[in-house]
Symmetry: C2
Subunit: 233 residues, 2 copies
């Protein structure tokens, strides 16, 4: 089985993939260690390491020091989906982009938001409701809370000129975020804002972003009917 020459990490990766797919190496099974594979493939261990590391990152292999490398039992397929800035998404489709601020005020958030923002009771946040339009038609509206303490400069920013999301992306570095995707049924408010019928199913993204010290912002994006989010693996 000393198959020819696999002297680039891509060819090594391809060969390992082939063996996994052909069940030569079965799920849960340990595969030979890096040193052995390097000899068999006629390449350096670092090359094997690169190939296996990439496969482990994509979820097909499980690796542990000393224990070794095994074919993943239940390969969790990971789709990486790009989170777009709404303006780019709309303009990318060749449509015109516009947004309007429906309301902007300082207020103490309801309990649910406060929990997500991890702020003390009574602390006021900036509450912003924005509608984004594609070719003049409602596309998505965002109900956003911003921790003004974590975001110096937001108070004086002109959020009519640049949407809060864009302003934040451009000005406030963040370290992590979480995303929830779901569906909701349009009520009177959504129907009015998005110019759709009450009772329609709407796609919803909830997103929080944070840095080391604070939760920066949490936003709920409710999309007009027909929105589709797409990704490939």
């Amino acid at each position: 089985m000393s198959a020819g020459e696999f002297n680039s990490w891509q060819t090594v990766q391809a060969e390992v993939l082939r063996r996994i797919n052909s069940r030569e190496w079965r799920p849960g099974e340990f595969i030979p260690n890096e040193a052995e594979l390097a000899v068999e493939f006629g390449c350096a261990r670092a090359t094997v390491n690169r190939a296996l590391r990439a496969l482990a990152e994509s979820g097909l292999l499980d690796r542990r020091r000393k224990a070794g490398t095994r074919v993943a039992l239940n390969p969790v397929r990971k789709a990486t989906l790009a989170i777009p800035v709404i303006r780019y998404e709309i303009e990318g489709k060749g449509q015109s982009y516009r947004h309007t601020v429906l309301s902007k005020q300082r207020a103490a958030p309801p309990a649910g938001i406060r929990a997500r923002m991890r702020t003390e009771p009574g602390v006021k946040l900036m509450h912003l409701v924005t509608l984004h339009l594609a070719d003049g038609k409602p596309y998505v509206f965002g109900d956003r809370w911003i921790n003004t303490e974590a975001v110096p400069g937001i108070e004086t920013a002109d959020l009519n000129a640049q949407s809060a999301n864009e302003w934040l992306v451009a000005n406030i570095p963040f370290e992590g975020g979480d995303f929830t995707f779901s569906a909701m049924t349009a009520g009177p408010r959504e129907a009015e804002i998005l110019a759709c019928k009450e009772g329609e199913g709407l796609f919803v993204i909830e997103r929080s972003t944070w840095n080391a010290a604070h939760v920066i912002t949490t936003v709920r994006l409710t999309f007009a009917p027909g929105y589709r989010m797409h990704t490939e693996i």
Copy 2:
């Protein structure tokens, strides 16, 4: 600025991140090349390469040969979301899992499906409708088409014992897939199958998977109200 010692790729990465976040290196701007950074950080070029490559993969840097490395202008944040096998997802919540096959037949698919499956007109596929239940309550139902030509053995598989998805994951290696997430409004059929009210908003995942030669399967998963898909970055 010859800042101390950055002699592991993680510390190099952290320092580069710091400079990006602090705007020392601004979006769109070229950063010094690997060799220069290696000298400045007091480490090998390979170490810098590892750090920058990781940052490029996560979308914060743009790299091109000869041109160099620049800070990404619009950092596309990528969330990697794990595509779960439904049984694991349900059992992971501590609920009991059960599934039933509502219908299974060979049929020529409608045009939309045929386009996705890339089959010739008249070719019959396996059409499978399955309901998955959590603690006995409808959780999601799947409307699936399988290219039997691409999937040897599926005809004789007992899809009552093991769901089609699980059978496929365990038996048919695939190379790529695409995913679409959207919302729909429950019609009479969805309301009946999912035991929900007509007019409720439902979360929908459409997914196709393929290997080198064929589109293997395409499935539309319609979730009962309340479903939320979550991910972090």
